[in-house]
Symmetry: C2
Subunit: 207 residues, 2 copies
């Protein structure tokens, strides 16, 4: 019973990596199997040999990318820090990831809009539910303790920190055109923004 040819594992990885780059850059509809094969330096038939179809290959890519991003995010909320500290750590980690994988926000947003179902079976719902409820309860508790303003809704905190963190990367072309700057100036602004974000949120939710 032989299973492993050194080649196979390698090509499978090579394909996935090339596919990731192309899919993330051009989206599902814009990507071409031939282009992925070229980037991987392999025959197009090989992509189908290993991943059956474009759709399956795409799911493999999306799943990997999405899960990596989510795991990082969710783990921040699993600690038992104060809400303020959670927010600080969240921004710090999230910004770091986003600076490295700049194209992920638009990619994920767009593909999720194209087919919201790709995400099904990709969420560990029980883990998610647990994280959500404990984080929301912690917010409620700190409201009672007079740390957080009464009028603040847990949901809003969540949506707002996500928005402030991810949107600018998705909207890079818009923002740069809008304020008339070039790419590097944009990332300078993002860099400078980074540290102020947590304060921005905390300032508006603290009692």
């Amino acid at each position: 019973m032989v299973k492993t040819n050194k080649q196979s594992e390698n090509t499978e990885e090579t394909i996935l990596k090339a596919a990731s780059e192309i899919f993330i850059e051009k989206g599902f509809n814009g990507a071409r199997m031939q282009e992925i094969a070229d980037k991987a330096g392999l025959n197009k038939a090989l992509l189908h040999y290993y991943y059956r179809s474009k759709d399956k290959l795409f799911r493999a890519v999306f799943s990997k990318v999405f899960q990596r991003l989510m795991d990082g995010l969710i783990s921040v909320f699993e600690g038992n820090m104060s809400v303020f500290d959670t927010i600080r750590i969240f921004f710090k980690e999230h910004q770091e990831v986003l600076i490295t994988y700049r194209h992920l926000p638009v990619f994920i947003l767009n593909e999720l809009q194209r087919d919201p179902n790709i995400v099904v079976d990709m969420f560990d719902t029980s883990r998610l539910e647990k994280v959500r409820s404990t984080f929301f309860q912690r917010i409620e508790k700190e409201k009672q303790e007079g740390i957080i303003r009464q009028s603040i809704q847990p949901m809003d905190i969540f949506v707002n920190i996500l928005s402030l963190s991810a949107f600018p990367y998705a909207a890079k072309p818009l923002i740069t055109s809008f304020i008339g700057i070039n790419k590097s100036a944009f990332y300078d602004i993002m860099e400078a923004r980074k540290d102020g974000l947590a304060d921005f949120v905390i300032q508006s939710i603290k009692a």
Copy 2:
């Protein structure tokens, strides 16, 4: 010199409307000329007769949609209200537009990433520059007057209000999956969020 057949203006409009719906829903790469023709109830060759190519038709659509959105936004900043009032009005108007045209954020973000150049020649740069500089100056002035915190950067205010306003609509599938709700519950949350957004920002920038 004949120029206007009643039909022509009508079909041109019909095509643009159908094209808008399809392009916004599926993006440039996902849209099919045949599908647009079907939706318009016309022959595919007509699309080419009026708009020459898929690309030109797309630009006509994007330009119209983008300009309508931008005009609304920019005009808010052109008034000479206080910064706080400007923020309040901005959210109020922007949210209204976004609730009506829910698919615009992802569409614009994605197409702009696909080809950042489509937006060139679509900005009235002088108007934009004027708006930007007067708004930023107003912020600086209110900082001097002790209304706004010294540490706040004008750029950040701009990026933050845009993020808070637009991101949730772009991330609808993500958010609904994340917190396990359905579509109508999502728009309930958006509705409830609307009024608190301005306060959220003002609270964190006020001195």
